[in-house]
């Protein structure tokens, strides 16, 4: 993991800062350590690096000039939104410019008839629903960090949330992304229509972790708020039974508005923190939500209760009113900070697995807890198979940190082995770059690099993130021998 010791080339720093000062005001170009320190990491605090220069443009024209200046000087650029990302996607360049979009905080337009909002990338996720609320509309994707994370970052990571089984991810809820290539050319991906001619460059841009273009404006879809919503909290005396209950709900033809699981270590951590009213004696709890018209919700809640009882739920509580529903969710949404209170540090993983493998993967995580001597509560977007195991550790103990990394790597590789993926919604960033070598072969990585070159021939935009160099994978393969076949068979190994 990165060190906080500055290794800045001062001449280069001066040149770049001066070039940016030609069109940016003094307060918008930071280079002194006390000013750049707050930008040394994002939500993945284990990785830190001081940026050489931080640029804080306020207009699209300034963004364009930052990019043109940097690309002509061959300077790397790392875009940053609210800095809540969990994979180190906004880890700054020690030899380049951290481009913060934090000043792009304007809601440009809300059109209730068209059901869209046009917002700048620094607008917070939750703020979009706030401005849409007077029209009975909302923005559906709701990552747990929604009070802090910005829509530009959501676009970069294709963020999900607890309601995405029914309402989709960022890619399903964004109509248009406006931005600039590293060379400063304006691009519009998508439109207010439901499709655009040619390749789906909008889909390619979403989840591209800031490697293809810098987002300066986003048009999102707004949905009508459901008339009502209620959530069931179901307790199980066995984690596997809870997993089977998830499958039973879906087999009954129900797509709940939200379907979340937490194991006992997670509910206990949360309950101390927010008093959500969770059953802390249950081995696992499920939160199963229904939304729609009152009649529809009554019908669905009755059906879900029946299915959950049949699946062996030991206790069922249905939210009686909106306050109770929000209280049940508050625990889930506060799971990460709650875990943060019972341990000096925690490391959040983000694998997705086929739901039927939940028992197998949780048993595997249990075995890893013993192997590495570290605890690991689990929260789980059960409906879509997205696991967030949280390894508890102390970052001040270098040896523990190392064990944590190995623990996490083994779990992610297990996710791939059962047919899943190393990241469901947090992105690869710098964190999972080695595991990309496990998930993809050299040919696929070759395509990713070719896609990158199509947008950014010099490789200046967010370099070193998301897609590993083939040489890195060869090195990783040498360090890390798998039982399975080598994923990069075609690559020379010396």
């Amino acid at each position: 993991m990165g060190s906080a010791v500055p290794e800045i080339d001062f001449q280069r720093q001066k040149d770049v800062a001066q070039a940016l000062r030609a069109f940016l005001p003094e307060r918008s170009v930071l280079w002194q350590q006390e000013d750049t320190r707050p930008y040394e990491c994002d939500g993945l605090t284990a990785y830190r690096r001081l940026p050489m220069v931080v640029a804080l443009p306020e207009t699209e024209e300034q963004v364009q000039r930052v990019l043109k200046t940097c690309s002509s000087m061959g300077i790397p650029v790392v875009p940053r939104g609210a800095g809540t990302g969990l994979s180190g996607g906004a880890l700054p360049p020690g030899d380049g410019v951290l481009l913060s979009l934090a000043k792009f905080m304007r809601v440009v337009r809300v059109d209730p008839l068209a059901r869209i909002a046009v917002v700048q990338p620094g607008v917070r996720n939750a703020a979009i629903s706030d401005v849409a609320a007077p029209f009975g509309l909302y923005y559906a994707p709701d990552p747990s960090s929604q009070i802090a994370c910005s829509i530009g970052g959501n676009v970069a990571e294709n963020s999900g949330g607890v309601h995405c089984l029914k309402y989709g991810l960022t890619v399903h809820n964004v109509l248009r992304v406006r931005g600039y290539t590293i060379e400063g050319e304006a691009v519009d991906f998508g439109s207010e229509a439901l499709d655009a001619p040619g390749y789906d460059l909008l889909a390619l841009a979403i989840g591209s972790e800031g490697l293809l273009a810098v987002t300066t404006e986003v048009t999102v879809k707004l949905l009508p708020e459901p008339e009502t919503a209620r959530v069931i909290m179901a307790s199980f005396d066995d984690v596997q039974k809870a997993g089977d209950a998830v499958a039973a709900v879906i087999a009954a033809g129900i797509i709940p508005a939200g379907l979340e699981m937490m194991d006992r270590p997670a509910t206990r951590a949360v309950e101390q923190f927010v008093h959500a009213g969770y059953d802390v004696d249950a081995a696992a709890i499920l939160l199963c939500e229904s939304d729609g018209s009152a009649a529809e919700v009554d019908e669905e809640i009755a059906k879900m209760k029946q299915v959950l009882e049949g699946a062996g739920a030991t206790r069922l509580t249905v939210s009686r009113d909106e306050a109770e529903r929000l209280r049940f969710w508050s625990g889930r949404k506060a799971a990460f900070p709650a875990v943060g209170r019972i341990s000096p540090d925690y490391y959040c993983m983000d694998g997705t697995i086929p739901k039927k493998c939940l028992g197998e993967v949780l048993n595997f995580i249990g075995a890893m807890e013993k192997k590495y001597g570290l605890r690991c509560p689990n929260v789980f977007h059960a409906g879509d198979g997205n696991l967030h195991p949280l390894i508890l550790f102390d970052a001040n103990d270098a040896e523990q940190l190392k064990r944590t990394e190995q623990f996490a790597a083994e779990v992610l590789e297990k996710c791939v082995a059962v047919g899943g993926t190393i990241t469901g919604e947090h992105g690869v960033g710098v964190e999972k770059i080695d595991q990309m070598c496990v998930q993809f072969g050299a040919a696929e990585l070759g395509i990713f690099h070719a896609v990158k070159r199509a947008y950014d021939p010099q490789g200046l935009l967010n370099p070193g993130k998301a897609v590993p160099a083939l040489s890195r994978c060869a090195e990783f393969g040498r360090r890390h021998v798998h039982a399975a076949a080598q994923p990069h068979a075609g690559l020379p190994r010396f």
Partner: protein, 333 residues
Amino acid sequence: MRIRGGGTKDFYGNAPRGELLETRGHAGIVAYEPTELVVTARCGTLLSDLHEVLFKQGQFLPFEPPSFGSGATLGGCVAAGLSGPRRASAGSVRDFILGAKIIDGKGDLLSFGGQVMKNVAGYDISRLLTGSLGTLGLITEVSLKVLPRPSAELTLKLELPQGKALESLNRWAGQPLPISGSAWSDGELALRLSGAGSALELAAQKLGGEKLGAGDAATFWAGIREQTDPFFAGDAPLWRLSLPSHAAQVELPGAQLIEWGGALRWLRSHADPAPVRAAVAGLGGHATLFRAADKPAGAFAPLPPVLARLHRKLKSAFDPAGILNAGRLYPEF
């Protein structure tokens, strides 16, 4: 090479050229577990076979793809990227694709995405392939998210002039109403509602109009989806106008049929391509010459220069020699 499944969409895009490469033989469902909400099948799998297998488990493809003939294959469905009447409420083909295996222009077998619902490892190549008309690779296998079929459906017909229909459709879409399909033509608006029975009755009371019998409703929506409705009969060129749903009435000569809550407008017209494209672009959309005896002005709206350059570079990333479905999407590649 020109890649072809069932050949039911040979009319779509620019004229196919090159050696024929048939994919129908590579068929079959590879994996389907209803509780995972994921199906994986080979490109030559008939859409009709896939529908039947899903139907037996109470599930379906929510984007309701058109077949345009009994031979339609899954590979063709994804390569064409066309969705049916449910698109405005449920999403499009690209919204449901989870993973794809392809053979690129260099002959490499590649695998992107996967069989899980959330996956942000690497660029989202599976969605990029959707609608690429086989120009980036031969799609050999696809994983799709599937959903339970709605427990009930109901179709209403209302008399409304076009302007009023467009305004109403947009207003209704901002309310929690279970509208899953809309089709307006010649002063008559059909609305399909899907969901729990109790919710449909309430919504029907609110919306008004006359209920259509279940059999008639199924025939009507199949006619819209498959373009066997009388609106689509005849020889006049058929334009597909993709617009913001709230865009004003399109003032062009010829008859129109409006779907997707206003976001898709079909135009039967002999008008010259240039004014059609200009009028639609002026309203924030794009016009595709969908069916016509010939398409000298190209099937698809021209791209702005920067996007055109990105297209060419992406094409050469997947197919450096330019051997796959050359010219099918745009003449220059």
